[in-house]
């Protein structure tokens, strides 16, 4: 029980400590308005190009992606801002279990992503006056939660890269545009070159976007469990890889002395 309480307190405190966007004004600006304006842009574009065909699916997929990107940036800050504040080495030299710690730090960002993507989706539905089947809602929340989880795993890996390079923004932007490109949020995956489609299988959100479109456009729920299972496994792999990266960074710092964790 103690451990569970600690897990969630760590999650909340580190969200406030490292992210610092709990100021409602800033939060609304960064986490809601910015993705909403992008969502609007892509929705209008897609609506124009496909003349409204499959629009609801595209809106859902874009809401998911854009808000998730914010979460991913947030999760990168788990490492970069800890380092910036000089607390990273204290954290690393404390007795706490590091995998558990970074997982607890991620939780807040997963929930954050879920919250903002739902807001974004509702916003999109209101603008284009569309509605969805009630039974799709719960399923969609589940799909999104898993997609966001796996995207956060990738975010943590990217955060680890920031231990090696100071140009977090550059890496973040590359990640953002690759996810937009590969996930198929704004066009059917079938129009992409084959090798890109294969590559897209290994990035998060591809399945989430696919499922979102299937659920919303076709009312097709048959692939949910298979694809969601894959997405979850992918997410777990990402988290494991990121923990290995953190361990490797610790090794470089402790043994080789070629990396400063402060």
């Amino acid at each position: 029980m103690q451990a569970v309480q600690r897990f969630f307190r760590q999650s909340l405190l580190s969200y406030r400590a490292l992210f610092g966007w709990l100021d409602p004004k800033v939060y609304i600006l960064v986490m809601v308005l910015s993705p909403l304006s992008q969502l609007l842009f892509f929705s209008v574009l897609v609506n124009y190009v496909y003349s409204g065909e499959g629009l609801v699916g595209y809106i859902g997929a874009n809401a998911l992606i854009l808000c998730v990107l914010n979460s991913v940036f947030g999760i990168m800050s788990i490492i970069t801002s800890d380092r910036y504040m000089g607390t990273f080495q204290h954290v690393m030299a404390s007795p706490v279990n590091k995998a558990g710690l970074f997982l607890s730090r991620s939780i807040a960002h997963v929930l954050n992503g879920l919250f903002t993507s739902i807001i974004g989706f509702i916003f999109g539905m209101m603008i284009f006056q569309i509605s969805i089947a009630p039974d799709a809602i719960l399923l969609l929340v589940g799909v999104w939660m898993v997609s966001i989880f796996s995207a956060c795993g990738l975010g943590l890996i990217i955060g680890c890269f920031c231990l090696w390079t100071p140009s977090m923004n550059l890496i973040g932007n590359i990640l953002a545009s690759s996810l937009l490109l590969l996930s198929g949020a704004n066009y059917p995956q079938s129009i992409m070159p084959v090798w890109l489609v294969h590559f897209a299988d290994f990035i998060p959100l591809t399945r989430g976007v696919e499922l979102t479109k299937q659920i919303l456009n076709e009312g097709n729920y048959s692939n949910v469990f298979a694809l969601l299972g894959e997405e979850f496994v992918l997410g777990v792999c990402f988290f494991i890889i990121s923990f290995l990266f953190i361990k490797y960074a610790e090794y470089l710092s402790r043994v080789r002395g070629t990396m400063d964790l402060d």
């Binding site: 309480q5 405190l13 406030r16 400590a17 204290h90 030299a93 002395g257 964790l261």
Partner: protein, 329 residues
């Protein structure tokens, strides 16, 4: 256990080499020997000072003792544990503080910072509240407990760091330049806190560049330079070692540096140090024969104005400068 051992830190022949790459295209490997076979030990309940010039290897040593760095060779034991292999076991029993304003979560309050780190050290929730209150009181921050750290002055941040270092009630506390950048009053307050902690049984290992601080606080001191041990003893004993040496200090107006340097040729004068200021030059001589030295000074400085001449016992700083050389900053 065969012998009762009072040493809670044992460092034996510790070496540490840093390998770095220099150059962007043609990468050349460069090696720095930060520690070259350092040995010393710290007794339970001591305040132990690690002193030495920039780059001497003090921070490197502290990082090794606190499990953050592994030695290239040599033996280290802290509380009977090896920081390299037993890091997990050791970490709950020690803590460390790096001087300066960083190493805190600026967006959190003082209280939340301590709560966060208490969780990292797995302090049970039931104990946390009382403990954090005590710590805030110890460092005099109870009135600003719920204020964000970013609104704190440097001194307040440094004191909060001390409290942070105590969340797990460590048996040994490592302090790397805790008083850096503090005003005299804050620095004194910090020393009081350190002494109080020590009275309560915490063993303390600290580094500082302020000799009077080390003299005032430390039970024993190790001088290190370029990764090697120069001297280890109590401040009193270290000063006694130069017992027959006196320090002659004076200011002089209207003299060239070369003239002052000539003192080095005199057999009874061991060490000459001077600092050019705007109008005058401050000179410090170490001599075993002050009575003989004073007439020589006047002799050599004919025509110049000599002021504020004094003969004193060497301070720890004088000994430091004599042993390690170089100028006092």
């Amino acid at each position: 256990m065969s012998t009762i051992n009072n040493n809670i830190i044992n460092v034996s022949q510790v070496k540490r080499t840093y390998k770095t790459e220099v150059g962007i295209i043609k990468k050349k490997k460069k090696e720095v020997d930060a520690l070259k076979g350092l040995s010393f030990s710290v007794n339970k309940g001591e305040i132990f000072g690690l002193l030495g010039p920039n780059g001497a290897g003090k921070t490197t040593m502290i990082k090794i003792l606190t499990t953050m760095l592994t030695p290239s060779s040599g033996e280290v034991s802290v509380l009977g544990l090896n920081p390299v292999t037993d890091a997990k076991k050791l970490r709950p029993h020690i803590n460390f503080i790096l001087g300066g304003e960083r190493n805190l979560y600026w967006r959190l309050s003082a209280y939340d910072n301590l709560a966060y780190f208490s969780d990292l050290y797995k302090i049970p929730r039931s104990e946390q509240h009382g403990r954090i209150q005590d710590l805030l009181e110890l460092v005099g921050l109870q009135d600003v407990a719920h204020q964000r750290v970013e609104t704190f002055s440097k001194g307040m941040k440094q004191r909060l760091q001390i409290a942070r270092g105590l969340v797990n009630n460590p048996e040994i506390l490592f302090l790397d330049e805790p008083s850096i950048g503090l005003d005299p009053v804050s620095a004194r307050k910090l020393r009081e806190i350190i002494r109080q902690l020590n009275d309560n049984g915490t063993t303390i290992l600290l580094t500082t560049h302020y000799m009077f601080e080390a003299d005032e606080l430390c039970d024993r001191i190790a001088f290190i330079d370029k990764g090697e041990l120069i001297e280890v003893d109590s401040p009193q004993n270290i000063k006694q070692k130069t017992n027959n040496v006196s320090v002659v200090e004076f200011s002089v107006i209207g003299i060239e540096a070369t003239k002052i340097q000539e003192f080095t040729h005199h057999p009874d004068i061991h060490h000459v140090q001077f600092e050019q200021q705007e109008f005058l030059t401050k000179v410090k001589l170490h001599t075993t024969d002050p009575q003989g030295a004073v007439p020589i000074i006047y002799e050599n400085m004919k025509g110049a104005i000599i002021q504020d001449l004094s003969i004193t016992k060497p301070s720890l700083e004088d000994v430091y400068v004599q042993l390690i050389g170089g100028k006092v900053s």
